[in-house]
Homo-oligomer: 211 residues x 4
DNA sequence: AATGAATGAGCCTTCATTCAT
DNA sequence: GATGAATGAAGGCTCATTCAT
């Protein structure tokens, strides 16, 4: 049924390998050779199929996972607070779960702090919608009681907490050598961030925060 | 009275250049040659003064400033909540203030995943004490009502929010081209993070959060 | 019929150049750049074809020729004394003959004092078998009359005499500016070493040495 | 009593350190920094006192030890055969004894195969006299029965055997990991070379070689 | 006279890319 | 169309040497 040509298969293998390697080593740290080794093809293949390492990154980022996450969240028949919790949990799973290989999200996270030619595309197609999505979710929680700037900062506070566990992973590993991101730990972290943030946004909105 | 030797001046120029380049390109993306070019010295200077690129990073992180920040905070005759606010503000000033360019510690250790003595030292001497400090400050606010793991996560939530503005700076620049980190903006951000976090930690501690 | 690919040609040029440069400047003194310059290729070629400077040395030593030499000697239908003479002559030709420049194995491993995989491999694959071979040849001459340690020293004495002409070539050139290693001279040297050594090993074995 | 100035002391320390390091690592492998570290002075001292690394080598080689060896040998009230044995033993001790630091002879041995600017001086002042000395000793044993070329080759055979143990040390260490150059082993080697060579030169001279 | 600081040429190696089948 | 071979720019670093006291 899958009329995949050999070319398509090679492309697919390269994209998967690229996602793995980019998410592990970042764009600069990744080498074309390593990607091609994992894709079991030759080093010319990247330039042949994608023009350059940059081009490979651009294609490797299809953001499907991220969009699926948002779509699923919107569909969820839950109150905004519960949806925030869900979103944070799914986002953290994408960022941290070691059993989910080749998450685009993890690639993005790595590149946020280290501008690459692909960053414009990443921001435009993935991050801007994501910020918009979370902004709307927060708005659904707090209503019109907060200004635009404050809403934005709430979104930043939530993403900042999430991304910290990825960006600071090398540091956290050294601080707490026993730390492992299994699903229990990820759930605990996500629960914490959700509770913490819910209280935060409500405080910002001037809403009394019951225990 | 400027008892600065030529050596000290060269070291200082290198450190400033390194902070600029490291924060712009990350550790891997930064080149010794570029750093030396900006410092107007030769490429050997880095190895001469700091032993290696790693060693330069370790010194560029400027532990002294971090420690001064903590010391000043401890001395402040304020309640823990106010001290948290102060700490966040000073930390954000250190991370973001564009008016003291390159003399600040802009870099937080990242992407030194391979076990390297530099990151070990950085974590041991700078980051671990910093986490301990903030942990104690949070504890002073919430008392013994939270467990060790939760306390730790509160610390992570606060640092995550702060570092977000540095790590995601390239992203935020693209999302909000008009964004400038002047002292007014920094104060607003710090205020937001302090309020948000205070509500967060109290919620985690099970403390009713009045408006 | 010249089924040599371009790769093989480049490899061969590199090996020839490496033998020249290594034998002129030693391993440390030789530079990859100089070798590549003489081989008329770029500096990456060494690492591409041989992995490293060490790897290039390992291949340049040309074990094949050494092995062919031993194989031919074993096949020779001669008495052990005559075979010793033959071996020394062939070995000296390999070491010294100026008429087959740089296609020969001129280098004997030296100055790789730091434990390096290259020298380990060289010793294991080339030198140990060679010592074993000469040990057996000496044993065939003297029988069981000498102990293991003495047999070993006889082998060392023979190799030492041969290698002297290579290792001390720069010295001998200065001592005897007229010295040329043409085939007549090489034969004379080989004959000398064979006679000298035959008498030596027999004396060590306690065998009366007739004129 | 020693009216040594501070300068002289520094020079002396540098020369001693240089002899150590040169004999251990060869001229190219030795670094000025290491020499100065051992001499407990600064890196400029070498150039200040000796002009360059080359100049340091030239001065480090005063050949006193070598000359003393020859002088002592001439004085010895022994037959030429016994004096050959003595000479080889003393020469080997100089080359190999790990308890005799900073032997000039060992430096020379390293540089024989790897021409340095100092080689002309070494050959002229040390090696040529040494070859002449050993030539005369061999001549005293065999008389006028051998031609000049053959006499020369006998000298080469003897030196070749001795130097082998130094040049091929890295190889021998790997072939026989248990090998140690203690004085017992050195004496055994020297005895072997003397016996072997005596038989050799007599055979070359056409002298019947009694057991 | 003597030294700590600074230099720049050069080292081996890695890398994304291009070439020539 | 697809690949193994080859490239050259650039990387961090080491070193003998020179500078400026």
């Amino acid at each position: 049924m899958t009329a995949e040509t050999k070319t398509d298969q090679t492309r697919a293998r390269l994209l998967n390998a690229a996602r793995e390697v980019f998410s592990q080593h970042g764009f600069q740290g990744a080498t074309v050779r390593e990607i091609c080794r994992r894709a079991e093809t030759n080093v010319s293949a990247v330039n042949y199929h994608f023009g350059s390492k940059d081009g490979l990154l651009a294609e490797a980022l299809n953001f499907a996972q991220l969009k699926a996450l948002q779509a699923a969240n919107i569909k969820a028949d839950e109150c905004p607070e519960a949806r925030l919790h869900l979103f944070i949990r799914d986002f953290m799973l994408m960022l941290l779960d070691e059993n989910t290989p080749s998450s685009q999200c993890r690639i993005m996270a790595r590149e946020l702090a280290d501008p690459t030619p692909a960053l414009d595309k990443i921001v435009r197609e993935a991050i801007a919608p994501l910020h918009k999505f979370l902004g709307e979710l927060v708005h659904a929680i707090v209503g019109d009681t907060v200004g635009e700037a404050e809403l934005r900062r709430c979104v930043h506070s939530i993403f900042g907490q999430c991304l910290f566990y990825r960006h600071s992973h090398p540091v956290l590993q050294r601080l707490y050598p026993k730390l492992r991101y299994d699903s229990k730990e990820i759930n605990a972290i996500a629960g914490h961030i959700a509770d913490f943030s819910l209280a935060g946004v409500k405080r910002i909105a001037g809403i009394r925060n019951p225990v």
